[in-house]
């Protein structure tokens, strides 16, 4: 096995000999008993004539090839999430192009995929109230659904900012604990938003061998948020909204919620 010189914290250099790899299979043949999504990264194009800090340059072929690798392994792809540098290099137009390409590939091979919808095209300082945030969510949800995409609702920097009372917005305008996953995003640090928590809306359906079935059904939505969307067809329950709302469940179909981390 190869040996390599690696630095230690005490500034010394150790001679490190690698162990044999475990030789995990590159393909999973049998059905799994858990649904497992990997939030997939972007592959940059290192030869693009572009300023890396200013304009995303993507190697689309390698980016999609990595998703093929995940699907070969029997995993689902969580697309355009924070792992894809959403909000840290990847803007919404490029995210939508990623979703379009990934959706198309998934459809062609039957790969499982769900896509991140947020409000990152709305600068937080431009959000005047909850309606702006809802509208921004709706725009992204509709764009993804137009591509037959399932939705993973992401946290909103605009909502987090509003909920913290910044910019003169009154906290009562932001009554709901909201959702998403951007891990460790400083713009989401606040007492009302839990990084790593998908807690808005959640009625998810999955195709798992025997057709669609509801796996999870929890959380809530404000009726106006879902006014244009399908109501949950399986059952009605009262929400467990932290803000004290008690309203019949009305959900975006296929939305995925994630447990807090």
């Amino acid at each position: 096995m190869p040996t390599i010189r690696l630095p230690r914290p005490d500034r010394s250099i150790e001679s490190y000999t690698l162990a044999p790899p475990r030789g995990f299979p590159a393909r999973t043949e049998r059905p799994l008993t858990r649904i497992a999504f990997a939030a997939a990264h972007m592959v940059a194009d290192p030869l693009a004539e572009a300023d890396p800090w200013l304009a995303p340059a993507i190697d689309w072929d390698r980016t999609i090839a990595f998703r093929e690798h995940l699907w070969d392994l029997g995993l689902g792809v969580a697309e355009a999430m924070d792992t894809a540098q959403r909000g840290m290099g990847l803007d919404w137009p490029t995210s939508l192009e990623l979703i379009r390409r990934s959706q198309s590939t998934a459809k062609a091979r039957g790969g499982v995929i769900a896509c991140g919808a947020g409000t990152d095209h709305l600068p937080p300082e431009n959000a005047r109230g909850i309606d702006d945030v809802i509208r921004a969510y709706e725009e992204q949800v509709e764009a993804i659904e137009a591509l037959d995409g399932r939705i993973i609702l992401m946290a909103s920097r605009a909502l987090a900012r509003g909920r913290q009372g910044a910019g003169g917005l009154r906290p009562r305008l932001w009554p709901h604990p909201v959702a998403g996953s951007p891990s460790g995003d400083p713009a989401l640090a606040g007492r009302h938003v839990r990084p790593g928590a998908g807690r808005l809306l959640g009625h998810q359906r999955h195709r798992r061998g025997d057709g669609h079935r509801a796996v999870d059904h929890r959380r809530f939505s404000r009726p106006r948020w879902t006014a244009s969307r399908s109501r949950c067809s399986t059952r009605t329950r009262r929400s467990s909204c932290g803000g004290g709302f008690r309203t019949p469940c009305a959900c975006i179909r296929g939305t995925i919620s994630i447990t807090p981390s």
Binding site: P2, T3, I4, R5, L6, P7, R8, P9, L18, A19, P20, P21, R22, G23, F24, P25, A26, T28, R30, P31, L32, R34, I35, A36, F37, A38, H41, V43, A44, P52, W53, D59, R62, A65, F66, H69, L70, L73, G74, L75, A78, M81, D82, T83, Q85, M88, L90, S181, S183, G184, P186, P195, V215, D216, R218, S257, I258, T259, P260, S261
Partner: protein, 137 residues
């Protein structure tokens, strides 16, 4: 319910016999072959093999996701570089610079201990190239 907990996913996915989590994890990008193999063992009812595979990935995940957590993508992409999914260690937004040389060296050790460096010669060669650029040769 999907766990998004990159620190405690193994036990949450395994469950307690009555409840379990499905998963939606950033770390599954970096450890996808191990995760899939572990899940296949779990599907066969071999929970011991599931934990045997995933247990050494947890220290790697905790390292990649350590604070400031938003820089975890750098570790994820570095893993993809080491394992040949891409031929360069550059990232959108220049994010390849967010983690220290010591951080990446420790990531390399932990990935090796988890059996995740699929081609050790390639991984060692690429790690050495990075270290050379950063003044260690």
């Amino acid at each position: 319910m999907y766990t998004g907990d990159d620190f405690n996913y193994a036990e949450l996915i395994a469950g307690d016999g009555q409840h379990h989590s499905d998963a939606l994890l950033g770390i599954f990008d970096a450890i996808a072959p191990a995760a899939a193999s572990a899940l296949a063992h779990l599907a066969e009812g071999d929970e011991a093999a599931f934990h045997d595979i995933l247990a050494p990935t947890v220290p790697l995940s905790r390292h990649i996701f350590k604070a400031p957590t938003r820089f975890y993508k750098t570790g994820v992409v570095f893993m993809a570089y080491l394992n040949g999914h891409q031929d360069h260690f550059t990232m959108v937004g220049g994010q390849e610079s967010t983690r220290s040389t010591l951080h990446l060296a420790e990531l390399f050790r932990l990935a090796d201990k988890a059996g995740l460096l699929s081609d050790p010669d390639r991984a060692a060669r690429r790690m050495a190239a990075l270290l050379a650029v950063r003044g260690i040769s």
